[in-house]
């Protein structure tokens, strides 16, 4: 059943949030995209440093020896599915369905937590195999890159849970759908960064 809701055009110079902007677009959304563009440079630096140093390790403690590809593939799948649940939350928020919005935001946070849990397990396993942060240039650049990504996912989980809490109290200021969309943009960015890390770091051998 296709229930179609068409939102009225935004009036002169007014963005979705209701405030006047010179572009007619939301300043918050513009700022988020600008932030995400700058994040590309941050992760670009970390990825290229890893690429440079990935061959600098002892013979028995390189990526080909320690990576567990089936396990990381499952983690990647979990994070990918969290992008689906996030976009469903954004869709529900656009339809002003608070119950489904909170549900999908919570599921997204749980999937994100599963991914971070997997990363903690992976780090612990590497450490037990003798690959610590300062063991080699490879390990330092690997832990820095994936650790930074893990911190981004953790921040995303905190944002999601805070959003659920604030939404339940009905205290989201301004356009609720836009706030959910902004958190969604951050979450999807974290996912696209992992898409690159998974291929360049895990799947392409040294």
């Amino acid at each position: 059943m296709a229930d179609i809701a068409v939102h009225e055009p935004v009036s002169d110079g007014h963005a979705q949030g209701g405030h006047t902007t010179s572009t007619g677009l939301s300043n918050n959304k513009m700022a988020m995209w600008l932030f995400l563009g700058s994040e590309c440079l941050l992760f670009g630096g970390l990825i290229s440093t890893y690429m440079l140093y990935r061959g600098r390790h002892p013979a028995d403690a390189g990526p080909d020896q320690i990576f567990d590809i089936p396990f990381t593939s499952m983690s990647s799948f979990v994070l990918l599915m969290s992008s689906l649940t996030m976009v469903l939350a954004v869709s529900a928020a656009a339809q002003k369905d608070d119950r489904r919005t909170n549900l999908w935001l919570t599921v997204t946070a749980l999937l994100g937590a599963t991914f971070v849990g997997g990363q903690v397990y992976e780090f612990t396993a590497f450490y037990r195999e003798g690959v610590g942060f300062t063991s080699s240039l490879f390990s330092s650049s690997f832990f820095t890159l994936t650790g930074f990504h893990g911190v981004h996912v953790t921040v995303g989980i905190i944002m999601l849970m805070a959003l659920v809490g604030v939404n339940k109290r009905g205290r989201i200021p301004g356009d609720k759908a836009e706030v959910v969309e902004l958190v969604g943009l951050y979450w999807h960015f974290v996912d696209v960064v992992w898409i690159i890390i998974f291929t360049l770091v895990y799947l392409i051998p040294t």
Partner: protein, 119 residues
């Protein structure tokens, strides 16, 4: 469950005529949930294909295939889940400028360190 909501944002509010001349009205369309599920299934299938390279030898196609699949996944998530497709072009410019700048800067960085030189 299959509900379609459509935001039609006119930057100028004069039936599509541009007030500021620098931007065009854009359509931000929320597709039905089933659409996003289909996209996720395709993304999952591509991930499975990527992972299969760990067990199956693709010979000389290994690296180009992996990079192509990675790029397809990236663009799909950015365009369809992040709604860059159908949203204002300014957002695409902001994001892809950062991305392209990062690629160029770090390719130059790696070239400086002779990363691409045969050993």
């Amino acid at each position: 469950m299959s509900t379609t909501a459509e935001h039609v944002d006119h930057a100028d509010g004069h039936d599509g005529h541009e007030a500021h001349g620098a931007h065009e009205p854009h359509v931000h369309e929320h597709k039905p949930d089933s659409y996003y599920v289909k996209v996720a299934i395709i993304l999952a299938a591509i991930t499975a294909l990527e992972t299969s390279t760990y067990w199956i030898d693709f010979g000389p196609f290994f690296l180009p295939a992996l990079l192509t699949l990675m790029a397809i996944k990236f663009v799909m998530v950015a365009s369809l889940f992040m709604h860059l497709k159908g949203d204002s072009k300014i957002f695409s410019y902001l994001f892809y400028t950062g991305l392209i700048l990062a690629i160029l800067v770090y390719m130059a960085f790696l070239a400086t360190f002779r990363f691409f030189s045969p050993t």
